[in-house]
Protein backbone atom coordinates (compact mmCIF):
# COMPACT_ATOMS: atom_id res chain seq x y z
CA UNK A 1 0.00 0.00 0.00
CA UNK A 2 2.87 2.36 0.82
CA UNK A 3 4.36 1.80 -2.62
CA UNK A 4 1.01 2.70 -4.23
CA UNK A 5 0.77 5.91 -2.24
CA UNK A 6 4.36 6.74 -3.15
CA UNK A 7 3.56 6.32 -6.83
CA UNK A 8 0.51 8.55 -6.45
CA UNK A 9 2.59 11.16 -4.64
CA UNK A 10 5.16 11.15 -7.42
CA UNK A 11 2.44 12.09 -9.99
CA UNK A 12 1.90 15.69 -10.97
CA UNK A 13 -1.46 17.38 -10.40
CA UNK A 14 -2.44 16.94 -14.05
CA UNK A 15 -1.67 13.21 -13.94
CA UNK A 16 -3.74 12.77 -10.78
CA UNK A 17 -6.67 14.66 -12.35
CA UNK A 18 -6.45 12.51 -15.47
CA UNK A 19 -6.36 9.33 -13.36
CA UNK A 20 -9.51 10.45 -11.56
CA UNK A 21 -11.21 11.37 -14.83
CA UNK A 22 -10.55 7.91 -16.30
CA UNK A 23 -10.85 5.64 -13.26
CA UNK A 24 -13.73 7.23 -11.33
CA UNK A 25 -16.52 6.31 -13.80
CA UNK A 26 -15.30 2.70 -13.87
CA UNK A 27 -15.24 2.50 -10.06
CA UNK A 28 -18.56 4.36 -9.79
CA UNK A 29 -20.22 2.11 -12.36
CA UNK A 30 -19.03 -1.06 -10.64
CA UNK A 31 -20.27 0.31 -7.30
CA UNK A 32 -23.66 1.07 -8.87
CA UNK A 33 -23.76 -2.47 -10.27
CA UNK A 34 -22.93 -3.99 -6.89
CA UNK A 35 -25.65 -1.77 -5.41
CA UNK A 36 -28.28 -3.11 -7.82
CA UNK A 37 -27.21 -6.72 -7.41
CA UNK A 38 -27.14 -6.49 -3.63
CA UNK A 39 -30.47 -4.65 -3.49
CA UNK A 40 -32.03 -7.40 -5.61
CA UNK A 41 -30.58 -10.13 -3.38
CA UNK A 42 -31.88 -8.36 -0.27
CA UNK A 43 -35.34 -8.38 -1.86
CA UNK A 44 -35.09 -12.09 -2.69
CA UNK A 45 -34.55 -11.48 -6.42
CA UNK A 46 -31.71 -12.68 -8.67
CA UNK A 47 -30.86 -9.21 -9.89
CA UNK A 48 -29.12 -7.82 -12.97
CA UNK A 49 -25.43 -8.49 -13.73
CA UNK A 50 -22.88 -6.21 -12.03
CA UNK A 51 -22.04 -4.66 -15.42
CA UNK A 52 -25.67 -3.59 -15.90
CA UNK A 53 -25.11 0.17 -15.22
CA UNK A 54 -22.55 0.24 -18.07
CA UNK A 55 -25.04 -1.46 -20.43
CA UNK A 56 -27.67 1.10 -19.46
CA UNK A 57 -25.42 4.09 -20.10
CA UNK A 58 -24.06 2.71 -23.40
CA UNK A 59 -27.62 2.10 -24.54
CA UNK A 60 -28.69 5.61 -23.53
CA UNK A 61 -25.91 7.06 -25.70
CA UNK A 62 -27.30 5.10 -28.68
CA UNK A 63 -30.80 6.50 -28.23
CA UNK A 64 -32.25 9.39 -30.16
CA UNK A 65 -31.58 12.87 -28.78
CA UNK A 66 -34.88 14.60 -27.98
CA UNK A 67 -34.67 18.22 -26.88
CA UNK A 68 -37.60 20.00 -25.29
CA UNK A 69 -35.85 23.36 -25.58
CA UNK A 70 -32.44 24.70 -26.58
CA UNK A 71 -31.13 25.15 -23.05
CA UNK A 72 -32.20 21.80 -21.65
CA UNK A 73 -28.88 19.99 -22.00
CA UNK A 74 -26.66 22.99 -21.31
CA UNK A 75 -27.05 22.88 -17.48
CA UNK A 76 -26.57 19.10 -17.57
CA UNK A 77 -23.22 19.44 -19.34
CA UNK A 78 -22.19 22.04 -16.75
CA UNK A 79 -23.41 19.71 -13.98
CA UNK A 80 -21.11 17.05 -15.41
CA UNK A 81 -18.12 19.39 -15.86
CA UNK A 82 -18.30 20.89 -12.36
CA UNK A 83 -18.74 17.51 -10.69
CA UNK A 84 -15.69 16.17 -12.55
CA UNK A 85 -13.83 19.40 -11.70
CA UNK A 86 -14.56 19.10 -7.97
CA UNK A 87 -13.62 15.42 -7.98
CA UNK A 88 -10.40 16.17 -9.85
CA UNK A 89 -9.55 18.93 -7.35
CA UNK A 90 -10.19 16.59 -4.45
CA UNK A 91 -8.15 13.68 -5.79
CA UNK A 92 -5.28 15.88 -6.95
CA UNK A 93 -4.90 17.00 -3.33
CA UNK A 94 -6.16 20.57 -3.66
CA UNK A 95 -8.39 22.45 -1.22
CA UNK A 96 -11.33 20.48 0.14
CA UNK A 97 -13.35 23.71 0.49
CA UNK A 98 -13.03 24.47 -3.22
CA UNK A 99 -14.10 20.90 -4.06
CA UNK A 100 -17.17 21.22 -1.82
CA UNK A 101 -18.23 24.58 -3.27
CA UNK A 102 -17.70 23.35 -6.81
CA UNK A 103 -19.87 20.33 -6.03
CA UNK A 104 -22.59 22.64 -4.69
CA UNK A 105 -22.39 24.64 -7.94
CA UNK A 106 -22.74 21.42 -9.93
CA UNK A 107 -25.87 20.57 -7.92
CA UNK A 108 -27.26 24.03 -8.68
CA UNK A 109 -26.83 23.44 -12.42
CA UNK A 110 -28.67 20.14 -12.09
CA UNK A 111 -31.58 21.99 -10.45
CA UNK A 112 -31.50 24.62 -13.23
CA UNK A 113 -31.75 21.75 -15.72
CA UNK A 114 -34.86 20.53 -13.90
CA UNK A 115 -36.42 24.01 -13.99
CA UNK A 116 -35.50 24.64 -17.65
CA UNK A 117 -38.28 22.37 -18.93
CA UNK A 118 -42.01 22.86 -18.51
CA UNK A 119 -42.99 19.47 -17.05
CA UNK A 120 -44.65 19.86 -13.62
CA UNK A 121 -43.00 16.61 -12.47
CA UNK A 122 -39.60 17.99 -13.32
CA UNK A 123 -40.38 21.26 -11.50
CA UNK A 124 -41.55 19.45 -8.38
CA UNK A 125 -38.44 17.27 -8.54
CA UNK A 126 -36.24 20.36 -8.85
CA UNK A 127 -37.97 22.01 -5.87
CA UNK A 128 -37.40 18.88 -3.82
CA UNK A 129 -33.77 18.79 -4.95
CA UNK A 130 -33.41 22.35 -3.60
CA UNK A 131 -34.83 21.23 -0.26
CA UNK A 132 -32.44 18.27 -0.22
CA UNK A 133 -29.54 20.60 -0.96
CA UNK A 134 -30.52 22.86 1.94
CA UNK A 135 -30.67 19.76 4.13
CA UNK A 136 -27.23 18.35 3.35
CA UNK A 137 -25.11 21.39 2.57
CA UNK A 138 -24.47 22.59 6.19
CA UNK A 139 -23.12 19.18 7.16
CA UNK A 140 -20.79 19.01 4.14
CA UNK A 141 -19.27 22.37 5.14
CA UNK A 142 -18.92 21.16 8.73
CA UNK A 143 -16.83 18.22 7.48
CA UNK A 144 -14.31 20.68 6.02
CA UNK A 145 -14.41 22.81 9.19
CA UNK A 146 -13.90 19.78 11.45
CA UNK A 147 -10.97 18.53 9.38
CA UNK A 148 -9.40 21.99 9.51
CA UNK A 149 -9.72 22.05 13.31
CA UNK A 150 -7.88 18.76 13.68
CA UNK A 151 -5.22 19.06 10.96
CA UNK A 152 -4.88 22.86 10.63
CA UNK A 153 -5.24 22.72 6.86
CA UNK A 154 -7.98 22.71 4.23
CA UNK A 155 -5.70 20.99 1.71
CA UNK A 156 -6.60 17.36 0.99
CA UNK A 157 -2.91 16.44 0.55
CA UNK A 158 -2.16 17.64 4.12
CA UNK A 159 -5.25 15.97 5.61
CA UNK A 160 -4.26 12.61 4.08
CA UNK A 161 -0.70 12.97 5.46
CA UNK A 162 -1.98 13.75 8.99
CA UNK A 163 -0.70 11.10 11.40
CA UNK A 164 -3.49 11.10 14.02
CA UNK A 165 -6.79 9.42 13.18
CA UNK A 166 -9.44 11.96 12.25
CA UNK A 167 -12.30 9.62 13.14
CA UNK A 168 -11.30 9.71 16.85
CA UNK A 169 -11.51 13.51 16.88
CA UNK A 170 -14.56 13.78 14.61
CA UNK A 171 -16.96 10.90 15.40
CA UNK A 172 -19.96 13.26 15.48
CA UNK A 173 -19.01 14.92 12.20
CA UNK A 174 -18.57 11.49 10.60
CA UNK A 175 -21.97 10.31 11.86
CA UNK A 176 -23.60 13.46 10.51
CA UNK A 177 -21.80 13.02 7.18
CA UNK A 178 -23.02 9.41 6.86
CA UNK A 179 -26.55 10.67 7.55
CA UNK A 180 -26.47 13.20 4.71
CA UNK A 181 -24.64 10.74 2.41
CA UNK A 182 -27.99 8.96 2.11
CA UNK A 183 -29.33 12.14 0.51
CA UNK A 184 -26.28 12.55 -1.75
CA UNK A 185 -26.38 8.93 -2.93
CA UNK A 186 -30.11 9.40 -3.69
CA UNK A 187 -31.08 6.53 -1.46
CA UNK A 188 -34.39 5.91 0.25
CA UNK A 189 -35.64 7.41 2.65
CA UNK A 190 -34.26 10.60 1.07
CA UNK A 191 -34.77 9.95 -2.66
CA UNK A 192 -37.36 12.71 -2.92
CA UNK A 193 -36.27 14.45 -6.11
CA UNK A 194 -35.53 11.39 -8.23
CA UNK A 195 -35.26 7.72 -7.53
CA UNK A 196 -33.15 4.99 -9.04
CA UNK A 197 -35.91 2.56 -8.26
CA UNK A 198 -38.35 1.99 -11.02
CA UNK A 199 -41.59 3.45 -9.87
CA UNK A 200 -42.35 6.57 -7.93
CA UNK A 201 -45.03 9.19 -7.62
CA UNK A 202 -43.11 11.89 -9.49
CA UNK A 203 -42.63 9.80 -12.68
CA UNK A 204 -38.84 10.31 -12.51
CA UNK A 205 -38.77 13.66 -10.75
CA UNK A 206 -36.02 15.99 -11.91
CA UNK A 207 -34.90 13.72 -14.78
CA UNK A 208 -38.40 13.31 -16.27
CA UNK A 209 -37.68 15.32 -19.42
CA UNK A 210 -34.13 14.09 -20.01
CA UNK A 211 -33.74 11.20 -22.40
CA UNK A 212 -31.02 9.37 -24.28
CA UNK A 213 -27.49 10.83 -24.07
CA UNK A 214 -28.42 13.52 -21.51
CA UNK A 215 -29.78 10.89 -19.14
CA UNK A 216 -26.63 8.83 -19.67
CA UNK A 217 -24.53 11.88 -18.78
CA UNK A 218 -26.54 12.42 -15.58
CA UNK A 219 -25.88 8.78 -14.64
CA UNK A 220 -22.12 9.09 -15.27
CA UNK A 221 -22.03 12.34 -13.26
CA UNK A 222 -23.68 10.49 -10.41
CA UNK A 223 -20.86 7.90 -10.51
CA UNK A 224 -18.21 10.63 -10.32
CA UNK A 225 -20.08 12.19 -7.41
CA UNK A 226 -20.27 8.88 -5.53
CA UNK A 227 -16.52 8.30 -5.91
CA UNK A 228 -15.81 11.82 -4.64
CA UNK A 229 -18.06 11.35 -1.60
CA UNK A 230 -16.48 8.00 -0.78
CA UNK A 231 -13.13 9.77 -1.06
CA UNK A 232 -14.31 12.14 1.65
CA UNK A 233 -15.19 9.15 3.84
CA UNK A 234 -11.64 7.87 3.15
CA UNK A 235 -10.16 11.06 4.68
CA UNK A 236 -11.64 10.24 8.09
CA UNK A 237 -9.58 7.01 8.22
CA UNK A 238 -6.60 8.19 6.15
CA UNK A 239 -4.04 7.21 8.86
CA UNK A 240 -4.43 3.61 7.68
CA UNK A 241 -5.14 3.25 3.91
CA UNK A 242 -6.44 -0.32 4.14
CA UNK A 243 -8.81 0.57 6.96
CA UNK A 244 -9.88 3.66 5.00
CA UNK A 245 -10.79 1.64 1.90
CA UNK A 246 -12.70 -0.89 3.99
CA UNK A 247 -14.50 1.95 5.80
CA UNK A 248 -15.47 3.66 2.51
CA UNK A 249 -16.90 0.45 1.06
CA UNK A 250 -18.55 -0.36 4.40
CA UNK A 251 -20.25 3.03 4.36
CA UNK A 252 -21.55 2.34 0.85
CA UNK A 253 -22.93 -1.06 1.90
CA UNK A 254 -24.49 0.55 4.96
CA UNK A 255 -26.29 3.07 2.72
CA UNK A 256 -27.63 0.21 0.56
CA UNK A 257 -29.04 -1.52 3.64
CA UNK A 258 -30.62 1.75 4.82
CA UNK A 259 -32.04 2.16 1.31
CA UNK A 260 -33.68 -1.26 1.48
CA UNK A 261 -35.13 -0.80 4.94
CA UNK A 262 -36.83 2.59 4.79
CA UNK A 263 -39.84 3.99 2.96
CA UNK A 264 -39.51 7.49 1.52
CA UNK A 265 -39.75 10.38 3.99
CA UNK A 266 -41.74 13.55 3.44
CA UNK A 267 -39.66 16.65 2.72
CA UNK A 268 -40.46 18.20 6.12
CA UNK A 269 -39.08 15.18 7.97
CA UNK A 270 -36.05 15.06 5.65
CA UNK A 271 -35.31 18.72 6.26
CA UNK A 272 -35.65 18.97 10.02
CA UNK A 273 -34.16 15.57 10.77
CA UNK A 274 -31.00 16.30 8.78
CA UNK A 275 -30.61 19.76 10.35
CA UNK A 276 -31.24 18.31 13.81
CA UNK A 277 -28.65 15.60 13.18
CA UNK A 278 -26.22 18.19 11.83
CA UNK A 279 -26.70 20.30 14.96
CA UNK A 280 -26.54 17.47 17.49
CA UNK A 281 -23.73 15.42 15.95
CA UNK A 282 -21.79 17.88 13.80
CA UNK A 283 -21.95 21.24 15.57
CA UNK A 284 -21.58 19.75 19.07
CA UNK A 285 -18.51 17.80 17.90
CA UNK A 286 -16.92 20.99 16.62
CA UNK A 287 -17.75 22.90 19.84
CA UNK A 288 -16.14 20.13 21.92
CA UNK A 289 -13.04 20.30 19.67
CA UNK A 290 -12.86 24.07 20.30
CA UNK A 291 -12.61 23.44 24.06
CA UNK A 292 -10.05 20.63 23.64
CA UNK A 293 -7.61 22.66 21.53
Amino acid sequence: MNSISEIIQSWSIIERMLAFFLLAPIAGGVLAGIDRKLSARLQGRYGPPVRQPFFDVLKLFQKERILVNKFQNFPIVLFFLFTVFSGALFFSGASILLAIFSLALAGTFFILGGFSVSSPYSHLGAERELIQMMSYEPMVILVAVGMYQVTGSFTVADIVQHQASLILYLPGVFAGFVYILTIKFRKSPFDLSMSHHAHQELVRGITTEFSGPALGLIEITHWYENVLLLGMVYLFFAFNPWLAIVASLGTYLFEIIIDMNYARFKWQLTFWSSWLFTAVAGVSNIIVLCFLK
Binding site: R36, G47, P48, Q62, E64, F210
Partner: protein, 161 residues
Protein backbone atom coordinates in the same frame (compact mmCIF):
# COMPACT_ATOMS: atom_id res chain seq x y z
CA UNK B 1 -23.24 -2.98 -30.25
CA UNK B 2 -26.02 -5.01 -28.76
CA UNK B 3 -26.66 -2.74 -25.82
CA UNK B 4 -30.40 -2.56 -26.45
CA UNK B 5 -30.66 -6.29 -25.85
CA UNK B 6 -28.90 -5.89 -22.53
CA UNK B 7 -30.88 -2.97 -21.16
CA UNK B 8 -34.43 -2.63 -22.51
CA UNK B 9 -36.51 -0.24 -20.44
CA UNK B 10 -40.21 -0.88 -20.42
CA UNK B 11 -43.18 1.48 -20.35
CA UNK B 12 -46.52 -0.09 -19.53
CA UNK B 13 -49.78 1.57 -20.56
CA UNK B 14 -53.18 0.26 -19.61
CA UNK B 15 -55.45 1.09 -22.57
CA UNK B 16 -58.76 0.19 -20.85
CA UNK B 17 -57.71 -3.28 -19.85
CA UNK B 18 -59.62 -5.34 -17.28
CA UNK B 19 -56.39 -5.25 -15.16
CA UNK B 20 -55.84 -8.98 -15.64
CA UNK B 21 -52.84 -8.51 -17.95
CA UNK B 22 -51.63 -5.52 -15.88
CA UNK B 23 -51.42 -7.71 -12.80
CA UNK B 24 -49.44 -10.24 -14.83
CA UNK B 25 -47.00 -7.53 -15.99
CA UNK B 26 -46.53 -6.42 -12.39
CA UNK B 27 -46.06 -10.09 -11.46
CA UNK B 28 -43.07 -10.17 -13.83
CA UNK B 29 -41.31 -7.70 -11.53
CA UNK B 30 -41.79 -9.80 -8.40
CA UNK B 31 -39.00 -12.00 -6.97
CA UNK B 32 -40.51 -15.11 -8.60
CA UNK B 33 -40.04 -13.88 -12.21
CA UNK B 34 -37.68 -10.92 -11.65
CA UNK B 35 -37.57 -9.03 -14.96
CA UNK B 36 -34.62 -6.98 -13.71
CA UNK B 37 -32.23 -9.94 -14.12
CA UNK B 38 -32.43 -9.21 -17.88
CA UNK B 39 -31.77 -5.53 -17.21
CA UNK B 40 -35.42 -4.71 -17.88
CA UNK B 41 -36.73 -1.79 -15.83
CA UNK B 42 -40.37 -0.70 -15.62
CA UNK B 43 -39.80 3.03 -16.06
CA UNK B 44 -43.21 4.72 -16.08
CA UNK B 45 -41.72 7.52 -18.20
CA UNK B 46 -41.99 7.43 -22.01
CA UNK B 47 -38.84 9.54 -22.45
CA UNK B 48 -36.73 6.84 -20.79
CA UNK B 49 -38.45 3.83 -22.36
CA UNK B 50 -37.47 1.56 -25.28
CA UNK B 51 -40.43 -0.82 -25.22
CA UNK B 52 -44.10 0.15 -24.94
CA UNK B 53 -46.21 -2.66 -23.48
CA UNK B 54 -49.90 -2.07 -24.21
CA UNK B 55 -52.68 -3.96 -22.48
CA UNK B 56 -56.40 -3.62 -23.13
CA UNK B 57 -58.66 -3.23 -26.14
CA UNK B 58 -57.95 0.50 -26.81
CA UNK B 59 -61.04 2.73 -27.02
CA UNK B 60 -61.67 6.25 -28.29
CA UNK B 61 -60.59 7.79 -24.99
CA UNK B 62 -57.27 5.98 -24.65
CA UNK B 63 -56.35 6.25 -28.37
CA UNK B 64 -54.88 9.75 -28.17
CA UNK B 65 -52.96 9.01 -24.96
CA UNK B 66 -51.46 5.91 -26.53
CA UNK B 67 -50.33 7.93 -29.58
CA UNK B 68 -48.84 10.62 -27.33
CA UNK B 69 -46.89 8.11 -25.28
CA UNK B 70 -45.52 6.47 -28.41
CA UNK B 71 -44.50 9.82 -29.92
CA UNK B 72 -42.69 10.85 -26.73
CA UNK B 73 -40.47 7.76 -26.78
CA UNK B 74 -37.04 8.32 -28.36
CA UNK B 75 -36.05 6.11 -31.33
CA UNK B 76 -35.46 3.19 -31.66
CA UNK B 77 -38.63 1.90 -30.01
CA UNK B 78 -40.90 -1.14 -30.22
CA UNK B 79 -44.50 -1.87 -29.22
CA UNK B 80 -45.58 -5.08 -27.51
CA UNK B 81 -49.29 -5.87 -27.43
CA UNK B 82 -49.90 -7.90 -24.26
CA UNK B 83 -53.01 -10.07 -24.02
CA UNK B 84 -55.87 -10.92 -26.40
CA UNK B 85 -57.56 -7.53 -25.91
CA UNK B 86 -54.51 -5.67 -27.17
CA UNK B 87 -54.27 -8.11 -30.11
CA UNK B 88 -57.85 -8.16 -31.36
CA UNK B 89 -60.18 -6.68 -28.76
CA UNK B 90 -61.11 -10.16 -27.49
CA UNK B 91 -64.70 -10.35 -26.22
CA UNK B 92 -65.00 -6.56 -26.31
CA UNK B 93 -64.35 -6.21 -30.06
CA UNK B 94 -68.03 -5.62 -30.94
CA UNK B 95 -68.50 -2.85 -28.37
CA UNK B 96 -69.42 0.51 -29.93
CA UNK B 97 -66.50 2.41 -28.36
CA UNK B 98 -63.77 -0.20 -28.74
CA UNK B 99 -61.19 0.04 -31.55
CA UNK B 100 -60.15 -3.59 -31.08
CA UNK B 101 -56.41 -3.90 -30.61
CA UNK B 102 -53.33 -1.77 -30.23
CA UNK B 103 -52.38 -2.28 -33.91
CA UNK B 104 -55.34 -0.09 -34.94
CA UNK B 105 -53.40 2.85 -33.48
CA UNK B 106 -49.69 1.90 -33.36
CA UNK B 107 -47.33 -0.28 -35.41
CA UNK B 108 -47.20 -3.33 -33.13
CA UNK B 109 -44.01 -5.44 -33.33
CA UNK B 110 -44.71 -8.33 -30.95
CA UNK B 111 -48.03 -9.93 -30.02
CA UNK B 112 -48.22 -11.77 -26.70
CA UNK B 113 -51.36 -13.95 -26.63
CA UNK B 114 -53.31 -15.08 -23.59
CA UNK B 115 -56.31 -14.01 -21.56
CA UNK B 116 -54.67 -13.06 -19.42
CA UNK B 117 -51.13 -13.37 -20.80
CA UNK B 118 -48.90 -15.44 -18.53
CA UNK B 119 -45.75 -13.83 -17.04
CA UNK B 120 -43.53 -16.36 -18.86
CA UNK B 121 -45.01 -15.40 -22.24
CA UNK B 122 -44.75 -11.68 -21.41
CA UNK B 123 -41.04 -12.06 -20.60
CA UNK B 124 -40.58 -14.06 -23.82
CA UNK B 125 -42.37 -11.36 -25.81
CA UNK B 126 -40.28 -8.58 -24.29
CA UNK B 127 -37.05 -10.44 -25.08
CA UNK B 128 -38.20 -10.93 -28.69
CA UNK B 129 -38.93 -7.21 -28.78
CA UNK B 130 -35.29 -6.60 -27.79
CA UNK B 131 -34.14 -8.38 -30.96
CA UNK B 132 -36.43 -6.16 -33.04
CA UNK B 133 -35.04 -3.14 -31.18
CA UNK B 134 -31.55 -4.13 -32.31
CA UNK B 135 -32.72 -4.55 -35.91
CA UNK B 136 -34.40 -1.14 -35.84
CA UNK B 137 -31.25 0.46 -34.49
CA UNK B 138 -29.19 -1.16 -37.26
CA UNK B 139 -31.66 0.08 -39.90
CA UNK B 140 -31.64 3.55 -38.40
CA UNK B 141 -27.84 3.63 -38.49
CA UNK B 142 -27.83 2.47 -42.12
CA UNK B 143 -30.34 5.16 -43.10
CA UNK B 144 -28.24 7.75 -41.29
CA UNK B 145 -25.09 6.68 -43.17
CA UNK B 146 -26.78 6.76 -46.58
CA UNK B 147 -28.40 10.18 -46.07
CA UNK B 148 -26.74 12.05 -43.20
CA UNK B 149 -28.42 15.40 -43.91
CA UNK B 150 -32.03 14.31 -43.95
CA UNK B 151 -31.66 12.58 -40.57
CA UNK B 152 -31.18 15.73 -38.49
CA UNK B 153 -34.78 16.35 -37.60
CA UNK B 154 -36.42 13.19 -38.81
CA UNK B 155 -38.57 11.24 -36.37
CA UNK B 156 -39.72 7.89 -37.62
CA UNK B 157 -42.66 7.83 -35.27
CA UNK B 158 -46.37 7.70 -35.86
CA UNK B 159 -47.71 9.95 -38.60
CA UNK B 160 -50.33 12.30 -37.24
CA UNK B 161 -53.63 12.34 -39.02
Amino acid sequence: MGWFKKSPWLLHYNATSCNGCDIEIIACLTPLYDLERFGIINTGNPKHADILAVTGSVNEKSKQILKNLYDQMPNPKVVVAVGLCAISGCVFQDCYNVLGGADKVLPVDVYVPGCSARPESIIDGVLQACEILEEKYAQQKKAKQSSPKSQTNQRQGFNHE
